[in-house]
């Protein structure tokens, strides 16, 4: 089957649109639909998700007919490290505090670059951490701890 796909971008876009549309349509069924005179909470979402599914089907069909350019290689290293760094930051920022969470975020994400260098990144982490504590905590009053509850207890 994959051999017949002439446009992988159309193919996957179609799949995503159909899946998301399907999900929204399914969940909408739990809400009252109402009528056009008195629209219920499910009315507009049902309309939209059906439309999205139709667009998905058209895109999917088109992927077998109209040739297109292939999807370029994914930057998995960047994708993985950048998102992991961000999520990890969220997980530890209150517990460990900024002195640990910020350098973790900076070094982990910097590692995504193929031109990564330890010394340089450590210096960046130190500089940015001090800058952020001064600007965001002291200056703008963002309620984040410098040392988190895990350290102070």
């Amino acid at each position: 089957m994959t051999a017949n796909i002439k446009n992988t971008k159309d193919f996957w876009t179609g799949i995503i649109y159909m899946a998301v549309g399907g999900m929204f349509l399914l969940i909408s069924q739990n809400y009252p639909l109402g009528s056009s005179l008195k629209m219920g909470p499910a009315y507009f979402p049902t309309l939209l998700s059906s439309l999205l599914i139709i667009i998905g089907i058209i895109s999917l069909t088109r992927s077998f007919i109209q040739p297109g350019t292939p999807i370029t290689a994914f930057a998995f290293r960047g994708l993985l490290l950048v998102t992991a760094a961000i999520i990890l930051f969220g997980l530890i920022v209150r517990g460990a505090g900024l002195v640990i969470a910020l350098p973790t975020l900076i070094i982990l994400s910097a590692y995504a670059s193929i031109r990564f260098r330890w010394a340089e990144s450590l210096a960046l982490a130190a500089g940015l951490t001090i800058f952020c504590i001064l600007v965001f905590l002291k200056g703008l009053g963002v309620p984040l701890p410098i040392f988190g509850s895990w350290l102070t207890r």
Binding site: F89, L102, S109, S121, C132
Partner: protein, 501 residues
């Protein structure tokens, strides 16, 4: 005379020391973030939005307007110096701007952009002051059905202007509308699509979506072709355009301003269409058309003026109708709502100080842009030259803390990460995120107006065709879509964008 009275009210509001300072800081920060390669106005505003939350409404909006112009000018600087446009609108500037820089005329190109932007900004601000009040009065005649159709037109325009497949762009709009509905339904109080997560009761934050899709997504995309990225050092020698340069840039600036201002009003377009049209027209009618693409000063002057004029006049639909015409304006709506202002025709009459204050501050912002940027060009150049491997972790830090500070919740950080992944995947699939963000903001509004329109018409959907305003707007939307669908034109559109990128 009324105009003068209104403008003086505006000057009274904007010309307090505090507001001048906020405007200056906004322009400075906007340029600072905007010059960073790959970060356009949308990402810049999303990142800097949280710092305005604590300010009073007038100051916050003045600062945001400053950030907007600053980031646009910063984007032009990056386009000219390193050929890396941050957003579609400044793509055209790279064509001749970068060539001028390679010929050692980077300083003149930057000065031309600043002069053109300032002139265009001044004219467009005056237009805004002249036309916004009558338009707002007209907007009072708009019924629910008309509003709904206007939003349809705006979304269709965003689709037509999006790069890549038309079908995918329509899908992105529908997806954006759906995501906009997540949260508590205003009418029934029912929580929709929240999966029982209490943090989603207020809906997904639009800043979270914007930062994820435009900030994170863009960073991941930039990490892709790191090997190809060249770091060229450009020397700025002379800023002053020669007599010949002045002569050559006057007409393009005038034409660019006219084109940009008129196209900027259209919903869904903003400054992209204007800068592109101005460049094409200039290329056709210029005496020096052979020089275009090789560093013609007209090729910088015209699109830069159009760009800035459009940025200004795209405030018209926002301030008069309350309808954002592009993602940047969508962020402005968000900011206004956070400040407790419901954008729409009532703002002019109920909060004249705010309205005129913003208009005047637009001009002041443009003025600061010139006096700040010309002397500081050396500094911006040094920032551009900071290697990307040091830059992007810093951007991530600002995104993470910025998003956290919206509601002081880690939850938003996770959601930003999810939208970062989504944004990256969608760009890989040629689905542009810009129309999605616009639809995301309009989703709940559209549902509400649809509900009201159908309620008033007793459930008859024909109301959208029976009301003259609504029918005209829908007709325009269909026309725009048809034009984009006609194969010959469609091909041209593809070519046009290929030429840009």
């Amino acid at each position: 005379m009324e105009l003068l009275a209104n403008l003086s009210l505006g000057f009274d509001t904007a010309l307090t020391w505090a507001n001048l300072l906020y405007c200056l800081i906004g322009v400075f920060l906007g340029t600072l973030i905007g010059v960073l390669p790959g970060l356009g106005p949308t990402a810049t505003i999303a990142m800097l939005l949280p710092i305005t939350f604590t300010l009073p409404p007038v100051s916050a909006l003045i600062m945001l307007a400053g950030i907007y112009y600053g980031s646009q000018y910063g984007g032009s600087t990056t386009s000219i110096l390193v050929n890396l446009p941050g957003e579609a609108a400044s793509v055209v500037t790279t064509l001749d701007g970068y060539q001028m820089a390679r010929r050692g005329r980077a300083g003149v190109a930057l000065a031309t952009a600043a002069i053109g932007s300032f002139f265009a900004g001044t004219v467009a601000t005056l237009l805004l002051a002249l036309f916004a009040p009558p338009l707002a009065e007209m907007a009072l005649k708009f019924g629910a059905a008309d509003y709904f159709s206007l939003m349809v037109l705006g979304l269709i325009a965003a689709v037509v202007l999006a790069q890549g497949s038309l079908l995918h762009a329509v899908g992105m709009v529908v997806l954006g509308l759906l995501l906009g509905l997540v949260g508590t339904d205003v009418n029934s109080g029912l929580q929709r699509f929240t999966f029982g997560i209490p943090e989603l009761a207020d809906g997904i934050g639009f800043v979270v979506v914007a930062m994820g899709m435009f900030g994170l997504g863009e960073i991941i995309r930039n990490l892709e072709n790191e090997r190809l990225r060249s770091e060229i050092v450009t020397k700025i020698t002379s800023l002053m355009p020669t007599r010949e340069d002045w002569k050559r840039m006057i007409m393009p600036i005038l034409r660019g301003t006219a084109i940009g201002s008129s196209l900027g009003i259209l919903p869904g377009s903003g400054s992209i269409l204007g800068s592109f049209a101005a460049y094409s027209i200039e290329k056709k009618i210029s005496k020096n058309s052979a020089e275009f693409g090789k560093g013609a000063i007209e090729g910088v002057a015209a699109p830069e003026s159009a760009n800035n004029a459009g940025a200004q006049t795209s405030f018209i639909p926002l301030l008069t109708l309350g309808i954002p015409s592009n993602p940047v304006m969508a962020l402005m709506v968000g900011a206004m709502i956070i400040q407790g202002i419901q954008p729409g025709p009532a703002v002019i009459t109920q909060q004249p100080a705010l309205f005129w204050g913003i208009i005047v501050s637009m001009w002041i912002g443009n003025f600061f842009l010139v006096i700040l940027n010309l002397p500081l060009i050396g500094m911006w150049v040094r920032i551009i030259m900071v290697p990307y491997r040091l830059l992007f972790p810093a951007i991530l830090v600002f995104c993470a803390i910025g998003v956290f500070s919206l509601k002081n919740a880690e939850f938003d950080i996770y959601f930003m990460a999810i939208f970062g992944i989504l944004g990256y995947i969608f760009t890989k699939l040629d689905c542009e995120p810009a129309p999605m963000l616009l639809a995301f903001i309009l989703g709940p509004l559209m549902e509400e107006y649809l509900r009201r329109a159908l309620l008033l018409s007793r459930g008859d959907p024909m109301v959208f065709l029976q009301r003259p305003i609504s029918a005209t707007l829908l007709g325009l939307a269909v026309l725009a879509l048809l034009l984009a669908c006609i194969p010959a034109l469609y091909k041209k559109r593809e070519e046009a964008f290929r030429e840009e990128s």
